[in-house]
């Protein structure tokens, strides 16, 4: 188990299975609004469903409409449970706030891997390593 500390963008307490992207994410155009599936060709998460996961990525990119796109995903039940960034950008930050999605940034995201069980409480991020649990 690893304990990481970040900076709170949107306060909250939740937990879930991590989905980690090494590349930036735009919620506008890159994620299908009706399914929550990543549809950007060439993106490392192409084909993945982000709904209900703790979504971990370095930072956001793209149009400011992305804040609204995240909101729409949340209303349809396809938003991530929580968002963890290396460095938050205004578009994703505003999207998380308006969608009530707990969000933390300034976290060493190299410590988190897809499949890890991640708990978030305020600025605390607890990572239960998938590999360790099997041992």
């Amino acid at each position: 188990m690893k304990r990481l500390t970040g900076r709170v963008i949107k306060h909250g307490k939740t937990s879930g299975i991590a989905l980690v992207s090494t590349e930036p994410i735009s919620f506008f155009g890159m994620v299908d609004a009706d399914t929550g599936v990543v549809v950007e060709p060439g993106h490392p998460l192409m084909g993945e469903r982000i709904g209900g996961r703790v979504l971990v990525f370095p930072t956001g990119k793209g149009s400011t409409v992305g804040s609204y796109s995240l909101y729409r995903l949340a209303k349809a039940g396809h938003a991530p449970t929580a968002i963890i960034n290396l460095e938050s950008d205004p578009v994703v930050a505003v999207g998380a706030i308006i969608s009530d999605i707990p969000m933390v940034d300034q976290v060493d995201i190299s410590q988190i891997h897809t499949g890890d069980w991640v708990q978030i409480e305020g600025e605390q991020v607890i990572v239960n390593d998938r590999a360790q649990e099997r041992q």
């Binding site: 963008i9 400011t64 409409v65 609204y68 205004p90 930050a93």
Partner: protein, 417 residues
């Protein structure tokens, strides 16, 4: 970040969920950008108005926020909508789109924002004074407010400008602080820059080099730019172009803009570049090819009354062969109707299109293939956003194209990629 007890109470929900959400946005952005505190704003300009850009997601959000009791507490103006709110049917826009657009405007109205629908709020009553703090979205308006009026705003996004309007405050960082208003790039202009399109081409070139830095321009004819009202239209297009090809939110012009003569306005060690020719700027914007054009567009950013007068003067009584559209604020269109300018223009086949612009309107449905425009920002965005090929040249050449229906390349003008 330091909040006053009142600001803290809003953050804790003292005035309801809608206001609380707005305060959360403002405070979070303050954290991200390292602000020490908040600053009260004089006005807001909200972008993200066209249904084409907002989509169902944005419409839902705005309606929900309004229902949660969000109301603006400073004068707030809106960016262009996706169509002319009165003449959309006549212009060929889709009824379903019009209904969705109307719902967006109803949500804004519920928050206390009238449908001003223009990218030039400073021409229709939202004209800030020097030193006033604002929360404006719309990159060309941000540039004009900071550079020409000496007011202070960052490049806000749609939701963040709206959040700031709801709490009457924005985080104090970036261009709200003196230190960040100094120029990091000095541009020596060593070629003649006269027409509206010249200033647009120059802006495209400077924006490419400046990226998000503050440029200081030398070598421009101050008398030309200080002429009123004509000089304001040149500065408007210059700033809009720099904000399109770069992320320039503030520029200074020696002897012209209000902060250009402040001591140490240029940071020590600023990079110096020279521009000796505008050709590359014109080439970057000429995405046409076909000599046959089916539209001529003026008014990006939205036209002033002086610009409409110039177009009527250039037409000189000759009728248009292809549609000549001038996009402008409805308030100015109505003023032109009162003084007879609109009737003189429309008698020659011209069309004033209010409330919208060709970049945020669903142009694909109207069937235009190739247009001419002297507006650099419009020329920059139209191919990708509106799916039309573009010829970019002087207002004179564009008016001639409207009269003849075909494009005649000027001497030395080459088509870009």
């Amino acid at each position: 970040m330091k909040l006053t007890p009142y600001e803290q109470s809003l953050l804790e929900g003292a005035e309801g969920r809608g206001v609380q959400k707005a305060m959360e946005i403002v405070v979070a952005l303050g954290h991200i950008f390292g602000a020490q505190d908040l600053v009260e704003i004089r006005s807001a300009q909200v972008a993200g108005v066209s249904y084409k850009n907002l989509g169902e997601a944005g419409l839902e959000f705005l309606s929900d926020w309004a229902a949660q009791g969000a109301r603006v507490r400073v004068p707030t103006t809106l960016n262009p909508a996706g169509l002319d709110l009165h003449n959309w049917h006549q212009l060929g826009f889709d009824a379903e789109f019009a209904a969705k657009q109307q719902r967006v405007l109803e949500a804004f109205a519920a928050m206390g924002i009238p449908p001003s629908c223009t990218c030039t709020p400073y021409l229709v009553g939202n004209a800030p004074a020097r030193g006033e703090h604002l929360a404006w979205a719309e990159s060309s308006a941000v540039s004009f407010a900071n550079s020409v009026l000496g007011a202070r705003t960052n490049r806000e996004g749609g939701p963040s400008a709206l959040a700031a309007a709801i709490v009457g405050r924005t985080a104090r960082y970036g261009l709200h602080l003196d230190a960040n208003r100094r120029a990091q790039l000095v541009v020596e202009v060593r070629c003649p820059v006269r027409s509206l399109s010249d200033f647009g081409a120059l802006g495209i070139l400077v924006g490419q080099q400046a990226r998000n830095r503050v440029p200081y321009l030398r070598g421009l004819d101050a008398t030309h730019l200080l002429a009123r009202p004509a000089g304001l239209d040149l500065l408007k297009t210059l700033g809009a172009a720099m904000a399109a090809s770069g992320a320039v939110a503030l520029y200074h012009v020696e002897g012209v803009t209000p902060e250009s003569d402040e001591p140490s306005i240029i940071v020590p060690g600023a990079e110096h570049i020279a521009i000796t020719d505008l050709k590359a700027g014109y080439q970057a914007l000429n995405r046409g090819g076909e000599p046959a054009i089916d539209l001529v567009w003026f008014g990006c950013p939205h036209a002033s009354l002086a610009e409409l007068e110039t177009i009527v003067r250039l037409l000189n009584g000759r009728p248009c062969k292809v549609p000549l559209w001038v996009t402008m604020a409805r308030a100015l269109r109505d003023e032109a109707a009162r003084n007879g300018l609109l009737q003189r223009f429309e008698a020659l086949g011209g069309r004033v299109v209010a409330d919208t612009c060709l970049v945020v309107a669903p142009m694909q449905g109207l069937g235009f293939q190739c247009m001419a425009t002297p507006c650099a920002k419009g020329a920059y965005y139209a191919p990708a956003h509106s799916g039309v090929a573009v010829h970019f040249s002087s207002p004179e050449a564009c008016v001639e194209a409207a009269i003849t229906g075909s494009w005649v390349a000027e001497a030395g003008e080459e088509v870009g990629e």
